[in-house]
């Protein structure tokens, strides 16, 4: 019995719909990408930052292709389960450390970015630990309810976030100067690829769909196509937001923090709608809560399966505390955070994002899933999902 089937309620055919999978992909990768990437892309690739956002897309599609092939070979298993299936408990555990490292590093990293933005844009006097802890309440609760609740939460949040982006774009249209994007391809491939590297690291987070896609519905192809479509939309979104920032701020776009939030400071619709920053913050926080819920769920599920626990939910509270502490203590200041994201993350994220599914795929292809090994997976590790009924 596949993992997705193992937690379905009696008599109920449950699974994430392709639409939910697409939206979850957008939330998992797109929310932090739209906020953080445009500045980084512009800092590296100048007025061609938006092209770099598109050039990096294959780096995100590669993990999806590998995960898709793994799902075809061993359907319904998470990345950790796939590794254990192929290499046994010890070898599988060693290989599982890769996606676990990605989750352990990127979850507090995303939370830190969120706390930075909220602290900078609105809650300047509120302690970071309070901001992070408050924002963790809903994701924590949703993560405990399992992927279906998370998917529903995400389908509510993401359209709000996209709507806010469109509103910001329409109200800042007057400030756009298309000549700021010219000339195109003038800087050559060097800066373009430099800019594409951080974007590629972001997109390679698609590897974490290896913890979500096992809960897909019956239509395997549609589910994987939806994940690919979601990632492509994220890439287009990042490219458009970067182009928008550039066309308004020109060379300044690479020097301001969180450029999309700076766009709200030039919005003006008929002298009536001008202060749109709160709209974007509200919509972004909604998307961020969904994103944090999904990441946190993947983190707890991966850890519980590595530890061989029967259920991931006992881990949620201690892991939430650990993530909050890591978020508040990892970086001394915003410059340290920015330096890490710009100079370390491209290598770290890309290596783990592509390396995790690639090594598991190689292990499965080379060793093959024998019936004996399949039985070696502890039944406990399959029970991470919520009880239904």
């Amino acid at each position: 019995m596949s993992r997705a089937a193992s937690h379905r309620g009696a008599g109920e055919a449950w699974g994430l719909t392709p639409f939910q999978i697409g939206v979850c992909t957008m939330a998992m990768i797109g929310v932090t990408a739209v906020a953080g990437l445009p500045t980084i892309l512009t800092a590296y690739a100048g007025q061609e930052g938006w092209i770099a956002a598109l050039v990096a897309l294959p780096a995100g599609l590669l993990p999806l292709v590998l995960l898709h092939d793994l799902d075809r070979r061993q359907p319904g298993l998470t990345l950790v389960e796939q590794a254990r299936q192929a290499l046994g408990p010890i070898g599988g555990l060693v290989l599982s450390l890769l996606p676990l490292a990605l989750l352990l590093s990127a979850t507090p990293l995303g939370a830190h970015q969120q706390a930075d933005i909220v602290g900078l844009e609105g809650l300047r006097h509120t302690p970071t630990v309070v901001i992070v802890a408050l924002f963790f309440l809903v994701p924590l609760y949703a993560a405990r309810q399992g992927p279906e609740v998370l998917a529903r939460l995400t389908t509510l949040s993401v359209p709000v976030a996209i709507g806010a982006l469109l509103l910001i774009a329409s109200t800042s249209l007057r400030s756009v100067r298309a000549e700021n994007l010219q000339p195109i391809f003038a800087l050559g491939w060097g800066p373009l690829l430099q800019g594409a590297a951080p974007a590629a690291a972001w997109y390679a987070e698609s590897a974490l769909l290896g913890f979500l896609l096992p809960f897909r519905g019956r239509d395997r192809r549609a589910s994987w196509a939806a994940a690919g479509a979601g990632l492509t939309i994220v890439s287009l979104q990042v490219a458009l937001v970067t182009a928008w920032d550039l066309s308004i701020f020109g060379p300044l776009a690479g020097r301001v923090t969180f450029a999309i939030f700076q766009v709200t400071r030039v919005t003006n619709l008929a002298e009536f709608l001008t202060h749109m920053d709160s709209v974007l913050v509200i919509a972004w926080v909604a998307g961020e809560i969904a994103r944090m819920g999904l990441w946190f769920y993947c983190l707890c599920l991966a850890l519980s399966q590595c530890l061989g626990l029967r259920d991931y939910r006992p881990l949620t509270l201690p892991m939430a505390a650990a993530v909050i502490i890591a978020t508040c203590t990892w970086f001394e200041n915003s410059s340290q955070f920015n330096a890490w994201v710009m100079h370390v993350w491209p290598f770290w994220g890309l290596a783990l994002g592509i390396g995790s599914p690639l090594l598991v795929w190689l292990a499965v292809v080379l060793r093959g899933p024998g019936p004996g090994r399949r039985a070696a997976i502890p039944a406990a590790a399959r029970l991470g999902a919520p009880e239904r009924g």
Binding site: R124, P183, G250, L252
Partner: protein
């Protein structure tokens, strides 16, 4: 008590506890505690410091109130309070202002930023830094430069609209004057030329030689408390290096492609006519000459309507006369554009953004010449083609 009821009770208790934080935590500020700044002026203080003057809106007096410090009419008191502070830095000056105010200074509604001449000559980077860095400010706030001190302008209370900063803002909003927004001027610091124009404003004293130009005018007011746009300050690398008079400023608007509408007075032997420019299309292009050097072509198309016969009895029913008017208007536009170009060349400051244009349209040439741009710009061939069309004469062909 069953486990289910206990769970529900715990959830209810959690919800009640959560309501405690809904009031806004540490960052809660009541609306009544905000001192909203409508305009701010930065002047140079001795020893490299700043004198910052803010105009704070008194909303309770806006409906019936007068001008600054109660100078205007109305019985409810002044609509604005003007407060100054001095410090070694802008931050210190603002802190000094804050000590004298009961609430929190709120920058979100600042409409205009005035910069005094001495502060502008020293460099406006600290002003730009303050606006770009603070999350509360708007980046689309208008910058204006003032000959002499900027702070006293916030004390001016024009008779026709309160608060006074509204007068400046409305002029700018209606595109009657060139605009220099905070983020645009900051961008210009990062370009090769590093040049930009900031409109100049004065109190009740028209600029010498100021007359109707290509993009309309604001002159004519003679009230001693009138705020007049009299030209523009030329900035290079964030420092004020020169001035443009009103004609040169209008010409710069044509060449920059920012002219939108305005009224131009034209004189001919048959009479004097004012035409209103309704539609403008400006196309700027950098081209490559046969010898591989750059050149700039600017094509200006203006469509107009006769708005006033000021003197004489011009034959507005005669199509040939309208053609003459069109040619005269084209010559007027061309004249002011030439003035601006000559000023840019004389000051050797590329405030017309030709360098940016060459970089965008001819990146190959730009890669070769951008290092020598300050030497190339004054000799850059610029071809200006102006076509004007007086399309209509209004609702009246002839009065006499």
């Amino acid at each position: 008590m069953s486990a289910r009821i206990r769970r529900r009770a715990a959830a209810l208790l959690a919800l009640v506890c959560l309501t405690l934080v809904l009031s806004g935590c540490w960052d809660r500020i009541e609306l009544a505690d905000l001192d909203m700044v409508s305009g701010v002026a930065f002047d140079a203080a001795p020893n490299g410091g700043f004198r910052v003057t803010v105009s704070i809106v008194l909303p309770q007096n806006l409906a019936t109130g007068g001008g600054v410090g109660g100078a205007g009419g109305g019985s409810a008191g002044p609509s604005e309070a003007v407060v100054s502070g001095t410090g070694a830095t802008i931050g210190e000056a603002i802190t000094a202002i804050g000590r004298g105010l009961p609430g929190h200074i709120f920058w979100g509604h600042t409409r205009v930023v005035l910069i005094g001449e001495a502060a502008a000559r020293r460099g406006i980077q600290p002003v730009l830094d303050f606006f770009l860095r603070s999350p509360a400010t708007r980046l689309a706030t208008d910058l204006l430069v003032v000959r002499g001190e900027a702070g006293p302008l916030l004390q001016v209370s024009p008779p026709y609209r309160v608060p006074g900063t509204d007068v400046l803002y409305e002029h700018l909003r209606r595109q009657r004057e060139p605009r220099a927004l905070v983020y645009e001027v900051a961008q210009s610091l990062l370009t090769t030329s590093g040049a930009s124009l900031i409109p100049e404003v004065q109190v009740g004293r028209p600029a010498p030689g100021g007359s109707a130009g290509g993009g309309g005018g604001s002159g004519g007011a003679t009230s001693p408390t009138a705020l007049l746009f009299t030209g523009a300050g030329v900035l290079q690398r964030g420092r004020l290096v020169g001035w443009l008079n009103e004609d040169q400023m209008r010409g710069a608007m044509w060449l920059l492609g920012t002219a939108r509408q305005g009224t131009v007075a034209l004189r001919s032997p048959q009479g004097s006519v004012s035409v209103h420019i309704n539609r403008v299309r400006i196309h700027r292009q950098a081209v490559r000459l046969a010898d591989g050097s750059p050149a700039v072509r600017i094509r200006i198309d203006a469509e107009d309507v006769v708005s006033q016969v000021d003197a004489g009895n011009p034959p507005l029913g005669d199509p040939r006369y309208l053609l003459q008017l069109s040619n005269a208007l084209a010559a007027s536009i061309r004249g002011s554009a030439d003035l601006a170009l000559a000023a840019a060349r004389a000051e050797d400051v590329d405030f017309l953004e030709f360098g940016r244009l060459v970089a965008a349209d001819q990146p190959g040439i730009w890669g070769r010449v951008h290092g020598d741009w300050p030497g190339i710009f004054p000799r850059l061939p610029v071809v200006i083609a102006v076509r004007a069309h007086v399309r209509q004469v209004g609702n009246l062909v002839r009065l006499q």
